[in-house]
């Protein structure tokens, strides 16, 4: 059974962009180990020659016309939902 270390948890948290509180790490390590242990029962199945199913509708490439659709929502209304705005744009901390 897969054992997840504390470092593995921190790596997964980093991949998932989660800054975990110290108190959470051990619990998550145990839970994730147990869940992976549970799902590993699928290794018992012989799936040779079986195609994967990614979706069940059978639809493929549903296109629409490449035209602008007016949803009646203004830029101002959307910006009003941003946590920080400056000069009519979303403000973020320095990237580089």
């Amino acid at each position: 059974m897969t054992q997840i270390s504390r470092d593995d948890v921190l790596h997964l948290a980093q991949l998932s962009k989660l800054e975990l509180a110290d108190a959470e790490i051990d619990g998550l390590r145990i839970d994730i180990s147990n869940i992976l242990g549970y799902v590993e029962q699928l290794n018992k199945l012989d799936t040779t020659g079986i195609d994967p199913t990614y979706q069940v509708t059978g639809l493929s490439n549903v296109w629409r016309d490449d035209t602008v659709i007016d949803y009646g929502i203004s830029r101002q209304e959307l910006l009003a939902r941003s946590p920080e705005v400056a000069d009519f744009q979303v403000k973020v901390p320095k990237v580089l």
Partner: protein, 460 residues
């Protein structure tokens, strides 16, 4: 309270009186914590518009509730999370728009497990919902609030979402009808995404005909949701006689509560008395369905939840200096532990080196499960089994062990993975008075046949 009873009441009094009464009941039942918010002002305005004739339709003045992962006007859309605590929806979900076009009035937004991750509504960032029959027990989930307000008679129907059982299991726990539609039958536009290959929209009601009517209104293709199917749903007035129905043996093992099995067996007897044939059938892949589900669903949701980054909308952590800190702290504060657990499992099974062993193997196993369903539906019209292995469990009983919690969905995830329609109907109560639901499952797009059979049995 049925929809037709409500419509009569509106005729006898007014839409305003009916909506006011619903709001009053919602407030009187606050201790169940089934609702996160009321959309009182907007609801009363719409009620007045019904009374003055400005709004009309099949459901003119009929109050309803939506799970708080549906974008709707009049109150924030939180998905029961902190990251969307004050999120004011700029648009409404298609399903909500379709109901409003028929004159229905949304009065509030129901509690859920945050981002619909859970089977008990205990993962809500705002605290759990209590069961309608026993306050010390869970509502079920993730659409627990919607099930409870319907069971308490606050509203005659409610909307929910079902990714692996999130409508059917709380319906079973609260003695109401709960519908999971065929995948693609109802637009998901404006509903917070969880697992895109199994998420469906459905309803709760106090009887099958009401749920059928709501399904008829909300189904159909939507240019805003490319996964919707063209409208195939047509209400069947008469049930097909002498159906062949398969009782899924794998859902009736000794691990399943004896009173639950008894309830299913009694329903089977009723089906036989009504002229149908019921035979035991095997679905061996059912044993693996939960393992398949807990690879595919975390993988999909880890991707869907990447959009909650504190940049464009929602809450942003304060006092951060770098972009990386902003993402990490915002998401740590904004998600509950179960969200983080699932996102991290998703990151694990999708990471290079593990992808083939977990994700690809799960998608292949999913094909094997679907093949088994297809083979059964060559011989049988519908399948039957319990909705959940037990009646509602105690609050706190399963919170320490995620796998124990997940196992509650063992009978609902197989149809979710295959995209099939399934409905949970109340079929009895155990000795303690807790409701037990029976699940009817049909082939893809057979929603109307499932309703027809359930409806015919309700009269028996």
């Amino acid at each position: 309270m049925t929809i037709s009873e409500v419509l009569i009441k509106i005729q006898d009094t007014s839409a305003r009186a009916v909506v006011e009464n619903s709001l009053k009941l919602a407030k009187e039942n606050e201790d169940y914590h089934a609702l996160l918010s009321l959309t009182e002002e907007r609801a009363l305005k719409r009620a007045d518009d019904v009374d003055s004739g400005k709004i009309s339709g099949k459901l003119a003045g009929v109050p309803f509730v939506v799970k708080d992962n549906f974008l709707a006007f009049g109150a924030p859309t939180t998905a029961a999370s902190k990251i969307l605590e004050n999120f004011d929806a700029p648009l409404q979900a298609t399903a909500v728009e379709k109901l409003e076009a028929e004159g229905a009035i949304c009065i509030g937004k129901a509690n859920l497990d945050a981002f619909a991750h859970g089977g008990s509504t205990e993962n809500s960032a705002y605290g759990p919902t209590s069961n309608a029959f026993d306050k010390t027990r869970v509502a079920g989930g993730s659409s627990g609030g919607s099930a409870v307000v319907t069971a308490l008679g606050v509203v005659p129907f409610a909307l929910g979402s079902d990714t692996g059982g999130s409508i059917r299991q709380p319906a079973s726990f609260n003695g109401v009808v709960g519908v999971k539609t065929s995948y693609g039958a109802v637009s998901r536009y404006g509903v917070v995404a969880m697992a895109s290959s199994t998420d469906v929209i459905g309803s709760f009601a106090t009887n099958v005909s009401d749920a059928e009517m709501i399904t008829d209104i909300i189904t159909g293709s939507d240019k805003n949701d490319m996964t919707t199917l063209s409208d195939f749903f047509v209400i069947q007035e008469n049930v097909k006689p002498n159906q062949k129905i398969g009782l899924v043996k794998d859902f009736m093992t000794d691990d399943v509560d004896a009173e639950v099995r008894d309830t299913v067996n009694k329903y089977v007897e009723k089906l036989k008395n009504a002229g149908h044939t019921v035979e035991e059938v095997n679905l061996p892949m059912a044993e693996y369905a939960l393992a398949i589900y807990y690879i595919i669903v975390p993988a999909e949701l880890s991707s869907n939840l990447a959009r909650y980054d504190g940049i464009r909308y929602g809450k942003r952590a304060e006092g951060v200096t770098t972009l990386s800190e902003l993402y990490g702290r915002t998401r740590d504060l904004g998600f509950v532990t179960e969200n983080k657990r699932r996102i991290m499992i998703g990151s694990y099974v999708l990471s290079s080196g593990f992808f083939d062993a977990y994700y690809l193997q799960a998608q292949k196993a999913r094909t094997l499960l679907i093949n088994e369903f297809n083979n059964l539906f060559e011989k049988y019209d519908l399948l039957i089994g319990p909705t959940a292995p037990t009646p509602a469990f105690k609050l706190g009983e399963n919170t320490a062990d995620p796998i124990k919690m997940y196992l509650n969905d063992i009978m609902t995830v197989p149809t979710s993975l295959a995209g099939l329609p399934a409905i949970s109907v109340p079929a009895g109560v155990n000795q303690a008075g807790l409701p037990i639901g029976v699940q009817l499952m049909g082939p893809m797009k057979s929603d109307a046949s499932v309703f027809a059979l359930a409806k015919s049995m309700e009269e028996k």
